[in-house]
Amino acid sequence: MPLDPNLDPASHKFNVVGTRPVRPDGIDKVTGRAKFGADAVAPGMLHGAILRSPHAHARIKSIDVSKAAKLPGVKAIVTRDDFKEREPSLRDILWNVMARDKVFYDGHAVAAVAATSASIARKALKLIKVDYQVLPHVTDVDEAMKPGAPLLHDDMITAGVDPAPKKSSNVAYRHEFGRGDVEQGFKQADVIVERRFKTEATHQGYIEPHACLANVGPDGQGELWVCTQGHYMIRNTCAALLGMNVAKLRVTPSEIGGGFGGKTTVFIEPVALALSRKANRPVKLVMSREEVFRATGPTAASSMDIKIGVRKDGRITAAQADIRFTGGPFVGSLVDMGAMSAFAAYDLENSKAVGHDVVSNRPKLAAYRAPSAPMVAFGVESVLDELARKIGMDPIDFRLKNAAKEGTQSSYGPKYNRIGLIECLEAAKRHPNYTAPLGPNQGRGMAAGFWFNFGGQTAVSLNVHIDGTVALTVGTVDIGGSRASMCQIAAEELGVSYEVVRTVTADTSSLGYNDITEGSRTTFSTGMATIEAARDCIGKLCGRAAKIWGIPPEAVVWEKGYAKPAGANAGNFEPLSLADIAKQAATTGGPIAGHSEINAEGAGVSFAVHLCDAEVDKETGRALVKRYTVIQDAGKAIHPSYVEGQYQGGAAQGIGWAINEGYIYGKDGRLQNPGFLDYRVPVCSDLPMIDTVIVEVPNPGHPYGVRGVGETSIVPPLAAVANAISAAAGVRLTEIPMSPPVVLKAIESNGRAK
């Protein structure tokens, strides 16, 4: 749906959109009543537990469950033998859910038990005997690419290379994007900077561990309660993995305690269903925090070489990235998205981004908020910072000189429609944070960020009730306040107040298919479907008014919540409110509802600019963020408080990624820090207030101009923090996390170099 032609979001007076009402799920969430994944129980419920590999890489010679099966209270045990390979396209997911011939990482699931209590289930795990043949392992991306590295798959031939390599390797795929001729471009440059960067894997760190409650009966019908970002995805994937009928598996999403991309795939859900089917009882399966770190989907770890050339006047002549990602034992490190996003913020004639997708003995990655873009932006925006210094140009002016704008052919392909990078850069330059004086040992950094944003399949249903209230039924999980935004949009369209509408998230049997809440798509796509459903409903309301008045439907218009005659010729009737019409539904044709089933297109790309002031203790290497500002284009903010919340949350996660967080593997390939004590996410005392500026450059692909806002906010922080720390420390930081030892090492080696 395009931007409404008569709606200029800058000047249009919305009634409900743009206000900050209390969310409809608010009371439940401040009183402890909201039901999350682990909060459900069922009569006769069993407790599940999963046995996990202690090895980073090993062949499973045998699994003996006989002793565990004899333990009183054990009702079902499943292993690889209980998961048939049915669907080739889901092979990697199946192998990740339950190991087959080999375990590929520390924490890989090997068997699962359902028992009458959690403690019996845990005891039973200890009685399962797995005979492993331990194999050499590799967890570092650069090591995994070397000839002679331990191979995860004997038959892996790098795809995307012509001619195809003859020897197998750990490189699953090679991607290349770009345009022009970078060699020619570098010849035109006055200054070239080339650097290598490295980032460790991080975890989304949602506070709610994965949890589900499965109930499958002997008639093949199943129910699943689960915390997920996409219950339709869960249904379809589980049904395919277990050979169930899609229509017979009903999945109900719980309230979700954070996801950030990490709850966009299956881990324990097929296991719980398989246990339930085998035991013929409901089975609850809840992960521990240690399991979450070891065996869900963190980000890729990365290594990359970034080379950019500029003329003295500030124009970039060529940009090149060689990016290597490892995201676990299977193809799909999402390095392609990293390569596509690398130079997407800039208007470049010559660019080339190559991505290598490398397998290693780490857990299979899942998405994490703008997956891949933060790491690559760290490299690219660090090099740009260095170039600006070298040519003596203000870093914002430097980016303005090269910024992508409407009509720019992006480095990954499409030509941009109306976008807001320049507006964000200008707002950053005006912001007091950019010119405030700095204290001793402090430095300032800035960085820009890009994210694609997505649309996708969406269905909503809008029902008018007898008292004139409205039920909006959506199929996208609410992960940060989207039910409030949907109430606002429906109220705006119908011309009623926010309180009249209640939005609920349907189970998979109550509404048509909806894609996952991911890709910053929910407010955009579900919002678009809500507008369409409301307009569909308004058409029907006008039809009912026409029937009551005995005039043609075309002679009725809808204004501010009332059906009115279109003009003097239509007749002289008192306007009918939504409630008036609703009351007479039974006698004018039955229930009144609006619907929308769409595949939303036109999600406008989005940009952000972040400013960071950091302070570095040069004796310990400890870096602290002292001030932080997020400037981002929202297109049109529906609920500004939750837009700000997305900006602040993404920034905080990015600051943690930059300074504290990272997977630490021992020489044995086991994860050393699978807990919040040693994998330290930012706490309240680590951060300052996070200032926000909502820029609104309308997206031409949405009736109100909305752009997704959820992900872009995590793209610039790694670079913005690195640029600030580099300025404060007087040395360029190229490794993340910039923990005290890393910063100290950089300061000391710089001292020696001088």
């Binding site: 009371i27 506070i207 309240c684």
Partner: protein
């Protein structure tokens, strides 16, 4: 293993239960008493999602045994509102959009109430350190700190 019989008070109500000797107070609250407001985010005392008070002292209920509640007064998120009257902290969390997913919210409310009970006029730094035992992954803490400041101001007005 025989179970332990415990008499205690939860949110002002007298409660009796049997629990295993190695069972945490968190599991007792959630699985035996149906009070699922306290959440298990880590089970190791690092995230604060299971925060409750024992005799007014803020604790992680995942680090307390159910048997240790004998004769104590336990306070959970379910006891913060008085009937249909929300506590100022609950109101301000809603008005300030201080929650996104809401999983950490019960722990933050219990911890913030414990903080304000002891220090009705905390500085921003005192709030930040007072809540440093509670992890929030959604908000970046900005709106949580502002909500606590606003609630403290309202409570001081009485």
């Amino acid at each position: 293993m025989s179970q332990v019989r415990v008499s205690t008070t939860v949110n002002g109500d007298a409660v009796e239960y049997l629990c295993d000797a190695d069972e945490t107070l968190l599991d007792v609250l959630r699985d035996r008493l149906g009070l699922t407001g306290a959440k298990e985010g880590c089970g190791t005392g690092d995230c604060g999602a299971c925060s409750v008070t024992v005799d007014g002292r803020l604790v992680c209920s995942c680090l307390v045994l159910g048997a240790e509640a004998e004769g104590r007064k336990i306070g959970t998120v379910e006891g913060i509102a008085q009937g249909d009257k929300l506590h100022p902290l609950q109101k301000k969390f809603l008005e300030h959009a201080a929650l996104q997913c809401g999983i950490c919210t019960p722990g933050f409310l219990v911890a913030a109430k414990a903080l304000l009970d002891h220090n009705p006029n905390p500085t921003e730094t005192e709030i930040r350190f007072g809540l440093a035992g509670n992890l929030c992954r959604c908000t970046g803490y900005d709106k949580i700190v502002r909500a606590v400041q606003a609630a403290a101001a309202e409570m001081r007005k009485g």
